[in-house]
Amino acid sequence: MNKNIGVYVCECGPNIPERIDVDKVVQEMSSMDEVKTVKKFNLMCSNDGKKFLKEEIEKQKLSHVVVAACSPKDHEKTFMSVCQESGLNPYLFQLVNIREQCAWMIPDKEEATSKAVKYIRAGIHRVLYHNPLKKKEIEINTDVLVIGGGLSGIEAALSLAGPKRKVHIIEKTDSLGGMAADLSQVLPHQGSKMDLIKKKVEQLESSEFVNINTFSQVKEVRGFLGNFEAVINTHSGNGGVEEKEIKIGAVIVATGFNLFDLKKNPIYGYGEADNVLNATEFEDMINSEKILLKSGKKPKSVALVHCAGRKEQGYCSKVCCLYNLKFAHYLRDHHPDIEVKELVIDWCLPHKQDQSYFEEAKDKGVDFIRMDELLKTKSTGDQIQIEFKTNDKSHSVSVDMAVVAPAMVPSEDTTKLADILNIPLDKSGFFKELHEMLDPVSTPMEGIYLTGCALGPKNIHESLTQSHATSGKIFSTLVPGRKIEPEVKVSEIKEDLCTGCQTCLSVCFYGAITTDSFKGVSVVNEAICRGCGNCVGSCPSGAIRSKHFTYPQLYQEVLDALR
């Protein structure tokens, strides 16, 4: 192939010439045999600059292009698309970073210039080894698998299901609704008994685009965005397990949470003293409209104990303060003869209606008691004595009944599911988002999304919002009739060199490499591969090539840096 390399040095306004002698760089580069033309331009990324580059590529019939400008993070894509428009394969282009990592970090002009020359020379030698890479397109399946039939899962399924997108929702228990279905009221509007959930479940059940699987769990998920296959195990009534395979394009994990086991720490007195309840047991009492002690009598006083398990788990569960207030409101409204004492460590009332809800509870005569640390809960005769520390002094209250608010913890199958889906967990054992702020519902596995309390403690409002966010992600990536373009810079295995040692399989986090057992070699699934190159670095026989980051390409950079 005829090699006509065009080198363009961008001045980036005053940014680059301030520290780098651009004319000297141009002169140095012109002396290289491989280079056909070297030019400087003021702002390559401007419309004029792009037009200039396009004209140059066409007029000079360039085979390779090197632009020395800013970081590839800034404008690599800009210039690649200019190449594409000009009929040059965008991978026959190299952007050399002489702004951030040269002009801006070396005050001495001479030093910066000589470093820039080295970088550009490396870019020129590297680009000679570039290969044209082609984008591929893959057909997609637009169906979605929702794991978990709680409120988050229901909401995601409802917003996604439609004529062109079937949703499979799987739930390990006998019915949809999850933890929220047991609640007495939904805060903060004091809505009636979970009409919300009932309506949503009915809507789901009547939808022809939703396939509900109760008593079911995921056994296996393999594949990639747009082309997943999942194996679902469904327990039938007679103890047998039915296995079926479904094809989907995306997976939503909405496995919710569990409650912290209060028996883990004796200070809560749960399971030992009578009339110490956890929050869900108290919800049941509210549902049955009977607030009674074990003896069948009505309690004269109830203590609402906050923050059980917060210290043990290491995080605040966000919702407990509010539902304790809900309990206090309920007791004051419906049982004004019961005295309510709320034992609070820290208030967490982050939403806009919360503060007034708290003030109202105060007005209704709830006794708020501040504690620094809970020490002990024990039964003394008919009563329960709660000892706590405030300002280094011990205090105690005696009540007839204590309701303890346990922290939200990851649901029990979280670790197993993380293994099946190959996605990470955070320190607390919840699923970990790709980025807390920049990508809060994605996982490192493209096509697998997270919502609700599977990610960590959350109220209903936040869970629903996240479910809509996951739906949005799926709507925008899995568009019916459209194809997806997988990563181009992937790994490639040379069959002749592969010894079948399978080292690459163990370093690939995406499961993109499999073994062709007939040939005894490893094979890369280009649709799954993300191009990290870990397999390349670990292959003992040098059989793997990382497209666009090949040995010769990087080696040229090393050589020129040392020249």
Binding site: S71, P72, K73, N97, R99, E100, Q101, C102, A103, W104, M105, I106, P107, D108, E111, A112, S114, K115, K118, Y119, P424, P444, K489, V507, F509, Y510, R530, G531, C532, G533, N534, V536, G537, S538, S546, F549, Y551, L554, Y555, E557, V558, L559, A561, L562
Partner: protein
């Protein structure tokens, strides 16, 4: 040692953390020694032991490997592979009696421009003390 001696250091940076951190150091106009020549790879796990050895044998006075902090890898666990590879190289250098300080591994995140500036400056000073890499003249490979 000649005070004007300028070492030649190759730094392999992962695209997501360290390279971005280096860019940020530039944006913040931090002073980075011109002796550092960066080479971008997608993941620090791509840094083949051969790259490090080749750079070393070709006369690099120091070779830096930089990646995301453990647990923060863009590709989940690529930096753990890097760490193993570094241990391998470290042992190899020890076994062959080469100067161990000529290679090193650092974690630099995308926001740690300060750290990037610190480690590059410190390492350059360290290499300056060691002097030029004798290997390219002493080892025939």
């Amino acid at each position: 040692m000649n005070s004007k001696y300028k070492p030649n250091i190759i730094a392999f940076l992962c695209n997501w953390c360290s390279y971005t951190g280096a860019d940020l150091a530039g944006t913040a106009r931090m002073k980075i020694p011109s002796s550092i020549k960066t080479i971008r790879v997608m993941c620090s796990g791509r840094i083949d032991a051969l790259f490090v050895l080749k750079a070393f044998l070709k006369g690099a006075d120091g070779v830096m490997m930089m990646g995301c902090h453990p647990g923060d890898c863009h590709y989940q666990k690529g930096n753990y592979n890097t760490r193993r590879r570094y241990v391998l190289l470290d042992n190899l250098f020890k076994t062959l009696g080469l100067e161990k300080k000529r290679i090193g591994l650092w974690w630099v995140s995308a926001s740690e421009a300060n750290r990037y500036a610190k480690v590059t400056n410190e390492y350059t000073e360290e290499i300056k003390k060691l002097g030029p890499n004798p290997t390219s003249e002493e080892i025939f490979l």
